[in-house]
Subunit: 404 residues, 2 copies
Amino acid sequence: MKIFLLIADGLGDRPSKLLNDMTPLEAANKPNLNKMAYHGMVGLIDPIKPGIIPGSDTSHLNYLGYDPMKYYTGRGPFEALGTGLKLEPGDIAFRANFATVDGEFVVRDRRAGRIRKDTDKLANSLNMEIDGVKIMFKEGTEHRGALVLRGKDLSPEVSENDPHHEGLKVKEVIPLKKEAEMTARILNEFFIRSHEILNSHPVNENRVKLGEPPANAILFRGGGIVPDIPKFRDLHGFSGGFVAAVALVSGICTLAGLKNYTPPGVTGSLDTNIEAKLNAGLDALKNEDFVIVNVKGTDIAGHDGDPVAKMKFIERIDQAIGKVLLNRMDDVLFCFTGDHSTPATYKEHSSDPVPILIYYKGSREDRIENFGESQCRLGTLRLRGNDLMEVLKSHAGKAEKFGA
Amino acid sequence: MKIFLLIADGLGDRPSKLLNDMTPLEAANKPNLNKMAYHGMVGLIDPIKPGIIPGSDTSHLNYLGYDPMKYYTGRGPFEALGTGLKLEPGDIAFRANFATVDGEFVVRDRRAGRIRKDTDKLANSLNMEIDGVKIMFKEGTEHRGALVLRGKDLSPEVSENDPHHEGLKVKEVIPLKKEAEMTARILNEFFIRSHEILNSHPVNENRVKLGEPPANAILFRGGGIVPDIPKFRDLHGFSGGFVAAVALVSGICTLAGLKNYTPPGVTGSLDTNIEAKLNAGLDALKNEDFVIVNVKGTDIAGHDGDPVAKMKFIERIDQAIGKVLLNRMDDVLFCFTGDHSTPATYKEHSSDPVPILIYYKGSREDRIENFGESQCRLGTLRLRGNDLMEVLKSHAGKAEKFGA
């Protein structure tokens, strides 16, 4: 059996007055999920372990079988991977912003007027080499980007240059350990050189003409080393693919060696084309034994504090499942869960365990009527994130018996 | 309080159309188990952990308090123990078959016509010493047996001689590591010598006369070293006994130092005398603080894909409990569970968690009406296999407080 793992980012929630004291998942009209919950197994999953508030990166790592205590080296490497940069273990990566500084290096706009256009041209101008270290810059969404250093004797043990507030001077990068002295020096040198390049770049000259703040500085933070993680195929014995528009998630999947099946045009937003993502997932399963598909709208609505938008996004997921998946699952194990809870009443990730559903032909049947936080408490499954792959593999007939 | 642990091998299951979408345990008429479930605690147990498909050996080890990741060294040692051979830590043991080979050592019948008679005589003729290494052979059920090497500098890192298919030549044993060279040489020598002895053995001369294939070769596989495990009494502070007809289970119990109370005549089959086993368990508790009793029929019906036979076997267990146990439990904690699930709709071990019931006078009462997979989801207990002994000990008043 093949495995289709659908992650609704930030799915778990708490009851909301706006939804008659139900959670968005409980309140949603979702006949297809309910049908699978009735004829499948449900439960709750702690993405890391009880009481740990997961990030999307640490929980996705854990779900895929990689202990985040061992492999999570900071947000920089994973976001950088998500920009599409082909990174190598040992690279040092930072999250970065295009920003606007004045002649004294005081930050005037941390997001360079939320610049959107031509950031690729700016980014391309910043690839350089300093003292034998290769420096790569790649633009992300809006003002965001990733800064990567590749070379010998580099260390992630350096401070950030991002002062995190406007009106403050860009900070000098300081080595936090002796072995990071060279890395700090190169980063400071990069900041100066990049400032010079950006200041005289035609894109910025044009922005100044139009009265827009020039994107004339790179602020970086969240540095870490790209970890050397085993490939998914070596870990689990079969190949896999992913569909994800969010940089952080696609970065992790890429690092794990999963193949990217994300179709053009889908986004990590509330208005993404969910059907296109599910179809891409099914396409992936023509070549792969496993696919993970991430939809992000649930998390966004949670952060926005909008339980109704979250409920409606879940309803759109359900409709897409009904249209795309439900009648094409003869030889597919389907698992639906979230990577963490983002309660709309809380607007942040929380440690609340997340509803999970596993459905395949012939499974145990929990026969609950309404798939959601409350009824999932009564289900067969009570998992931690690092159980997930083992559970999916064993039910899909992809695991060996331990013993005789 | 004394502890009576009854294991219905392969108890857990999935719903079956033949049983109106119930599992065999749910569908069974089992007033006595239901009574204890109502007045006791129920739940689900993952014999190893979620997603791991247990073998009977690994799960029994885990249930008895022995981490199988540490102590499980392959099937050979545990099956060999189950034949009644008194093994010592460091012995190298294999599962073995009597087989029929021709003059070119090509396997003609892997089971020597499923020989049943006089295998003890054949086995006795094979005990020998080669280069100071003691070799023991002990017959098991039908064509099966166990081959054990005892001596210095032995290693389990050798290949098998069993080609696993008829029409193929017996394989030469190859050392898989340098330190296993002597072991491989002795095993090859044993094969030749045993072939000569068996070929001219009166039992085989008689078989040939009757037109039956001679049991003139020993095929061996699944080799491992007998692990040095602490004794049950040292681990838990009290003595224990076991009742089990299945070699694999009795082997583990023997290694743990549990005393064998298995009565003569009981089997590991669907037609075993369950009452005799339960009576033997009660007899054991006259001397011991703990007894584990294994009945195998549930697993056999599961492997046979026969949910009705499984249901009926459970009904026989229930009747035997009513007759033998129910009125003799004043000072006994009774626990009923399985060592894994063997869904009759799947015919193999699965990772589905297993229903469990703990009953003693004065326990918490879960008051479920029908002991089975569905209602056990709602119970007090949600365990992993390595929790079991601690849970039983604490409820039986055999555990110390951790702290003050």
